[in-house]
Amino acid sequence: MKRFFATILTATAAIGAKAQNRFPKPDFESGYEYPDLQYAVPNELMWDVLDVVLLLALLISAAWAITRRRKPMIWISLISVLYFGFFREGCVCSVGSIQNIVLAMVDETYHLPWVVLCFFLLPIIFAFLFGRVFCAGVCPMGALQELVNVKNGRISKPITMVLGLLPWLYLALTILYAATRSRFIVCQFDPFIGIFRLGGDIELLAFGILLLIISVFTGRPFCRFLCPYGALLSLFSSVAVKRIKITDKKCINCDLCYSSCPVDAIQPPYANTPQEERKEGVKRILGYALLMPLLIVAGAMLMRMSSDVMSRAHKEVRLYDLVTAYEAEENPEIIPLEVEAFYMRGRTMEELQASAEKAQADYRLYSTWIGAMMGLVLAIALIRFSVKRRRETYEIDQAACVACGQCFSYCPQNKVGDSKN
């Protein structure tokens, strides 16, 4: 796709690669001239600007659309899927940008492309201002699931609640692997990238298709149960400046919006009739509050102890293991490609060992923090599910709402004013 829009850049930057020069340059007698070779380089700067402008435009229109309109959201979704998904082949992506940001924070030498920063920050800013409008239709992955969604099958609420913690754990692991410069797991295991690129790793492709089939029957499985960026956005959307409301008019408790929500983010009215002694409830909250530091410490310790296993995801550690295993063998018959390349590069074992040990030390440090974070997430969830609150009308759970706008179009109160359209 990029081919058609590539500009030709006369690449002159010759590198100092050692040419072998076994054979001298031929002296041509027939007046032969060297062909002038040029290699196409896409005008990435132009695309970068276009990407950011379109992102901003889509975010603004989505923010405008959630003032009780559903139709524009479909168009926004379509544009996003076609442009960010199929045309840009899924690799200008806010979800993946988390990792670049983490890398930029821990690695001084890494230069963060400004586009990535925009893709990371803009949706967060919009989430802070208007709620998760990015998820609504600007994110190609959310949009794709939204577009194929036909029915709103419901999953048992407690199960969705618990599954809703998975994005946090995924986020924790993402940060760990990015901070240790091992790999970008969000990108590597992106289930939809294969669909956008019309081909790819068959297992992931199958997973992506499976997710899409699920999202035909229930709303957005990926967004709800996996997306780490969604978890981050929910933090900001739950304290959003301008909160999403189902209707400005008075709720008539008709239950239509509740049934229409694909992500189960609408909470029905609840009388909060006491079912246990008040003291019991307070005691439970206090108990979980005391458990919090314990969980954090336990998480930190467990993760720290398993850091050596996890560090095998790091290339240097893997190479070190391979080389030592190879050298321990008495009569090695097959030399692994990695080991061969290691010897040919002339790196010394000490050097490799030092860098592998550094990676392991990194892992020990970061996995401690990540373990603590996981413990914190679990503890907060326990406390959150201990707090009871009374609701008189149908209310949106701002953290879970993806601002898709389904409920607006189902609310009969909204129809009253719009009927002339």
Binding site: A6, Q20, F28, L37, R183, G199
Partner: protein
């Protein structure tokens, strides 16, 4: 959380709003601070955008062909004419130990026949790569680097590459030859 809850116990609505406000302030502050901090990390000119292979490091392990996310790898062999010796017995064109220098299948190195050659003058031949056929397997590169001037080498074609956030080939590259490069040095060419 406990404290606040107890303090505002009599007025749940106000408590909720108060918490909300605190949250908003914290969140807004975080966004601003993080944005400012991260903005210092960006450098438009030097930011690492493309992936590219350093031919000096490449050991032609063959993983470029198999590990690219694209159905046919974005890595292609390119040819530096100015480095080439224009030999008849080309280590990239013919298999090693060839008996006869003709284009019969048993003599050719390239599995897809992507290397074409043209007679220039005795004894010189010009070699060109047909990019549409090239799979980036690096067999010819290995031949040329071991027996010739190293004028055939692998590069990631930026017009084909989808510019993954993390290059899958870089993950498995045995010689760490693939790294991010900036706009100006999209190709690492031999001259």
């Amino acid at each position: 959380m406990e404290e606040k809850k107890n303090k505002n116990i009599n007025n749940p609505i106000r408590r909720k709003e108060f918490l909300q406000m605190c949250g908003s302030v914290i969140a807004g502050g975080t966004v601003l601070a993080a944005g400012a901090k991260l903005a210092t990390k960006t450098k438009v000119k030097e930011s690492d955008v493309f992936w590219q292979i350093d031919p000096a490091r490449c050991t032609q392990c063959g993983r470029c062909e198999t590990d690219c996310v694209l159905p046919v790898s974005a890595v292609k062999c390119i040819h530096a004419n100015r480095v080439c010796g224009y030999c008849d017995l080309c280590g990239g064109y013919y298999r090693s130990n060839v008996k006869e220098l003709n284009t019969a299948a048993e003599n050719m190195m390239c599995p897809t026949g992507a290397i074409e050659r043209k007679f220039i003058e005795d004894p010189y031949f010009e070699y060109t790569i047909n990019e549409d056929l090239c799979t980036g397997c690096g067999k010819c590169v290995k031949g040329c680097t071991s027996f010739g001037n190293g004028s055939l080498y692998l590069q990631i074609k930026q017009d084909i590459c989808v510019n993954c956030n993390e290059c899958q080939i870089a993950q498995v590259c045995v010689s760490d030859a693939i790294s991010r490069v900036d706009y100006a040095t999209a190709y690492k060419l031999k001259e």
